[in-house]
Each structure stands twice: as C-alpha cells, then as structure tokens.
C-alpha cells in the first residue's frame, strides 16, 4: 500500500508543516468551519482546521457535531478553486477589441484535502488540463497538495469502490494520516514534499504504527464501498439503458442540478454574453449541469426533454462515456452528490439496482 517512506510525528509537527508552508509564502486553502458546515476556505492559522469536529453525512443530510469524530469531504471541492463557478472569459470593447484576462496566481497550498478530491484534481488534469483551460493550468502549476488520508469515511463515501481512497497513492506533495489524536504519519510524494518534511522532527514509522495504519485503512476501505463493483460496470449499464429505475428516480429527482454543482469533476458550463452600457460586452462562463432542462436544448429541438433521460445521462457519462473520453471513471466516490441532494437520492443505490436488473434479466 505504501511505496514511499512513512514517518511519524506528534500533532505539533503537522502544525509545524502548516507554518513552514505559510512561511514559504503559500496561500493556504483547507477545511474550515464556516456557515455551520465544513468547507474549503483560506486558512490564516493551523487552529482554524476543525480537527476534533466531526460531520454526519447521510443522503440529503449534513450536520456537524462538536463532540469529536472526523470530518470528511467538505461542502466545496477543489473545483471551486481551480474551475470557478463564474469566470469572465473575455471582454469585447466598443471598438471590437478583444481583451483577455491575464491570470496570475500566488503559490497556493491545498492543505488537508481528501484522497477523493486529490483524485478529482487528477481527473481535472485530464479534462481541463488537456483541453487547455488557461485558468486551470495557471492555477494548477502553483498548487502544493497536502492530502489527509481517511480512516473514518462517512456513510456516503465510496472511494474504495472507485479506487480513489481511503489513502492517496499518487499526485500529492505530502500525505498524512491522523492515526489518533497525537500521532501523525507522514508520507512525501514529491521532491518538494521531501524538502518540507525535512524541516520537521520526525522518526521513521515503527512496524507497529504501520500495522495500525494498515488496519485502520483496511477498515475504512471496507466501509467506503458502494453496492456495485467496477468490473464490467460500463457494459452492465449499457445493457440496461431502458431500465425502469431511471424513471422511478425521476419521480423523486428535482432536476435542480445540485449534484452537478457539488460534483468535483462535473465540468459543464453555459456561456453568457452580457452587454454593458458603454457598448462593451463580457463573455462569462458559468457552471451548468446535465440536469438543467436547457442544457440539452439546441436549435431546432431538445434531445433530453424528460428528466429521467437527463438523470440517466448523468449516470452514463460518469460511469460509461467518461472512460472513452478521458480514460477513467468520472466519479471519485466523494459522496457529495448524495449528501447535498435535497431529495436525498443515493446514486449508489440507483447504479446497484440498474446492474442487478441485468442479472435478473
């Protein structure tokens, strides 16, 4: 499970790591308690990270609890930072001159994001990155990533099924695990990570600690599962395109696209041209989603008029088409679409049911 080396240190070393990153001039973005939820935001100090505060995530349900436990995927995913909800693409002056914004970003550290969100950034590298999204690419090259492995997934997590967690394996500068309240295990994932960890007082992890970690991750991995398996999943879904399950779900689905918005990989957008009084105009990109009615409305018609077809398209894109487009699944198992669905629809149940129907034939 661990190709790199593991080092152990006190919780104070994690604080030292935070301060070292800050001292090197990074803006730090990480989990913080705000508006009654844990979400990503800029952190001034280490103490803002709500260690010791847990969350309860169930379908359509989110609460924090102050009496301990751990927090999981925060409301915001890195998508909000790397691919903002509203972005001016260019401004056209009155004299038809095109003014493109120049993106300059300061060095930014994502501190304590989860392995599922790290995997989502990996997917964004293949989508936004390869498609040449300038904002994304400029921001991305300034990014330092410190990832926190999960030992207590929520009821909605299914990273183990998607192969993205509970531990991060690639694509980070540093990964750490809070083994318990006082012991942290650190793992470097890049030269920069090695350099940063060199500033801390760490010991090589003992065989006992590694065994404890292994057990904790194994337990987490047993919990963070969906009722379906990835083997042959795309084929199974394509074999049952006409499943009644999609129509049943559409009776509960609100078509509100909250799932699209909170998904760390959903990248669809609408383009709005906004004229100004001075004769100029701005072209703005805004997050959109395949659950939107107007999303599949084109000149001359509409190719997904029914809500069930829009819901089905979302499932099929994530679990079938994405593989062909980008070489991986489009889902990382973070569970946000389940937690933040106002109707409490559980994507895992939908997929399991559609797959089960194939077997029942």
């Amino acid at each position: 499970m661990f190709s790199g080396s593991l080092y152990s240190g006190e919780l104070s070393e994690l604080r030292k790591l935070f301060e070292e990153i800050k001292a090197r001039g990074y803006k730090i973005i990480g989990p913080r308690l705000e508006d009654g939820v844990i979400r990503l935001g800029e952190l001034e100090g280490f103490d803002e990270i709500p260690y010791g505060i847990g969350d309860i995530q169930k379908p359509g349900y989110y609460r924090v609890r102050a009496n301990g436990g751990r927090f999981r995927s925060p409301l915001d995913s890195p998508k909000r930072i790397l691919y903002p909800p509203e972005l001016t693409l260019f401004r056209l002056t009155r004299d038809w001159e095109l003014e493109r914004p120049e993106y300059e970003f300061e060095a930014t550290a994502l501190f304590g994001i989860k392995p599922c969100d790290l995997a989502a950034i990996g997917i964004m590298d293949r989508v936004q990155g390869e498609l040449g999204d300038e904002y994304f690419l400029k921001m991305r090259e300034k990014l330092l990533i410190v990832v926190e492995n999960c030992v207590e997934p929520s009821e909605n997590c299914f990273c183990a099924t998607m192969g993205t967690g509970p531990a991060a394996s690639i694509g980070f500068d540093i990964a750490y695990t809070r083994l318990d309240d006082s012991t942290i295990l650190f793992q470097p994932g890049s030269d920069l990570g090695v350099d940063l960890l060199g500033e801390l007082t760490l010991e090589p992890a003992t065989p006992d600690q590694i065994e404890t970690l292994r057990k904790a991750l194994l337990k987490a991995s047993e919990k963070a599962r969906a009722g379906f398996r990835l083997e042959n999943l795309p084929d199974m879904l394509e074999l049952n395109l006409e499943s009644e399950t999609y129509r049943e779900i559409a009776e509960r689905c609100l078509g509100c696209a909250n799932c699209n918005m909170v998904c760390p990989t959903c990248f669809c957008f609408d383009v709005i041209d906004e004229p100004e009084l001075d004769g100029s105009a701005r072209r703005i990109r805004v997050w959109d989603g395949c659950h939107s009615y107007s999303y599949a409305q084109v000149a001359g018609g509409h190719f997904r008029k029914d809500l069930w077809a829009r819901y089905r398209h979302w499932v099929l894109h994530k679990f079938v088409y994405w593989l062909r487009q980008f070489g991986s699944f489009g889902c990382v198992g973070c569970g946000r679409c389940i937690t933040w669905c106002p109707a409490g629809i559980d994507l895992r149940e939908v997929i399991s049911k559609v797959v089960r129907e194939v077997g029942e034939g």
Binding site: L75, G255, C256, E274, P275, Y293, G344
Partner: protein, 260 residues
C-alpha cells in the same frame, strides 16, 4: 410626439401591484442615470408626472390584471409598444393577490370591502400574458434590479434577450451558499424556482419562498413529498408552494392534483 432623438422611448406602467418593482427601477441609481444617455423615460408616473404619449419602444408592465380597466389598458399598451416586458411576479404570474383565484370571489369581496357592490373587478387576478403577447417576462417579488438592467441592456443593443430559466439551486451553489434543506432541514423552494435573484434568501440562511416563479420543467410534486419527509403536513407543503406564484401554470397544475 416630442421624442428625444435616437433614444429608446421607455414607458413604465402599473396595474394591480405594490409598486415595489417600479422602486427597483428607481433604485438602479447611478445605473439608471447612465441608462438615460440611451433611454428617454417617456412614461413613468412613479418617477415623473411628465407623462408623454406613445408609441413606446419598450413598455415595462408591473402588476397583475385584475380589473376590466386594466384589461383595456394592457391591450392599449400592446398596441402602443414595440416590446412589452412583464416585470415581477404579479405581471408575470398573477402575484400573491392570485390567492383569491382559489376562493369564492363574492366572499372575498365581502370580507375586504364594506360595500362590495361598488367593486368593479375581474373574478381572477391574472398575468399580463393572459391578455396580450408579452415579449419578455421576469419574475420576482420584487423583481431583481440587476436582472431588469440586464434585460434593458440587451434590448438596447437590439438582441433577443437571453435569460437562463434554470433552477435557483444552481445560482445558490455557484454563490457558495450552504443548502438549507440538507444542512438545516428547512423547506426551501429553490429546487423548483427560477434563478435571477442572486439566491437572496438562502444567502441569509433561510429557505427560498419561490417569488421568482417556477423554473423550466419544475418538479413541485417531488419537492412536496420531500417537504412531507421534513415533517410538513400536506396542507403546509401545499401552502409553501402555492405562495406568490400560485397562478403560474406549473404550480396550478400541481395544486389541482396534490390537493385533490
């Protein structure tokens, strides 16, 4: 006609309403002044007693049609205007006063007025679009001044007005609000309501009450069931959804089924 040269002639009319939407126009402040370079306000009684006759390029109509006089007025507005925009949920859906459409008209008159026989009103409070063709419609109680400005700016450059008619949840999530349904168990009409207000109420931690009217392809039935899960009675759920835009077609269709 004493029109100012090369300016778009704007008229603002009020039917049955509270004038709140007209206040939004005045509240544009500096942006309204900037608009005046391109627009001549030809008729706007809330702002000026200098009322000039038509024809008008753009007529903004606030308020629902609820009297025979207003029915005549909207027809004249249509004849006299190149573009008609219904502004706010009264003009666009019939408004909160359309709640009386669900009651006995004579009873309502008796309950409100001492001499109901003097009241000359239509039996129902209805949207402007029930009587005339409306080019563009925006909802809201009141309308959002920035959305209104956006419509005017688009009209000024002569393009067909583009408005996303999608659900408020998208605007709310883009803004970064925490979902009050999920995180607080509060009923919220956001999942069926048209965006455009900037997700005002959820930004202050309370549920949307749907004043912008239904989004495209709304699912009020699914939302009502969710409200019941959250502990609302069937009556309470219906009341929430009925609210300000009860006479809009999707809400009407839903209520007729749900309350049966």
């Amino acid at each position: 006609m004493s029109g100012e040269k090369n300016k778009v002639r704007l008229a603002v009319f009020k039917l049955t309403s509270c004038s709140g939407c007209q206040q939004q126009i005045i509240d544009l402040g500096d942006q309204l002044l900037a608009l005046l370079d391109r627009i001549e306000i030809a008729y706007f009684l809330e702002a000026s007693s200098d009322a000039k006759p038509g024809p008008y390029d753009v007529a903004l109509v606030e308020g629902s049609v609820s009297t025979p006089h207003e029915e005549e007025l909207v027809k004249k507005i249509r004849e006299n205007s190149r573009i008609v925009v219904s502004v706010g949920s009264c003009a666009t859906y019939g408004g909160i006063q359309a709640l009386r459409n669900w009651m006995d008209f004579e009873e309502v008159k008796k309950a409100v007025y001492e001499k109901p026989e003097l009241i000359e009103a239509l039996e129902k409070s209805r949207p402007v679009s029930d009587f005339i063709d409306v080019d563009y419609a925006i909802g809201g109680c009141p309308a959002n001044k920035l959305q209104l400005l956006s419509v005017l700016k688009q009209v000024l450059i002569g393009r067909r007005v583009y408005q996303r008619g999608e659900g408020l949840c998208q605007e709310c999530k883009r803004k970064g609000n925490v979902c009050v349904v999920v995180a607080k168990g509060q009923p919220c009409l956001g999942p069926i309501t048209r965006e455009g207000c900037g997700a005002l109420c959820p930004s202050y931690g309370r549920g949307c009450y749907g004043c912008f009217g239904p989004m495209v392809d709304p699912q009020p039935g699914a939302l009502a069931r969710r409200f019941e899960d959250l502990g609302l009675s069937r009556e309470e759920a219906a009341l929430r959804i009925r609210s300000i835009t009860s006479w809009s077609e999707p809400v009407r269709r839903f209520l007729e089924k749900y309350e049966r």
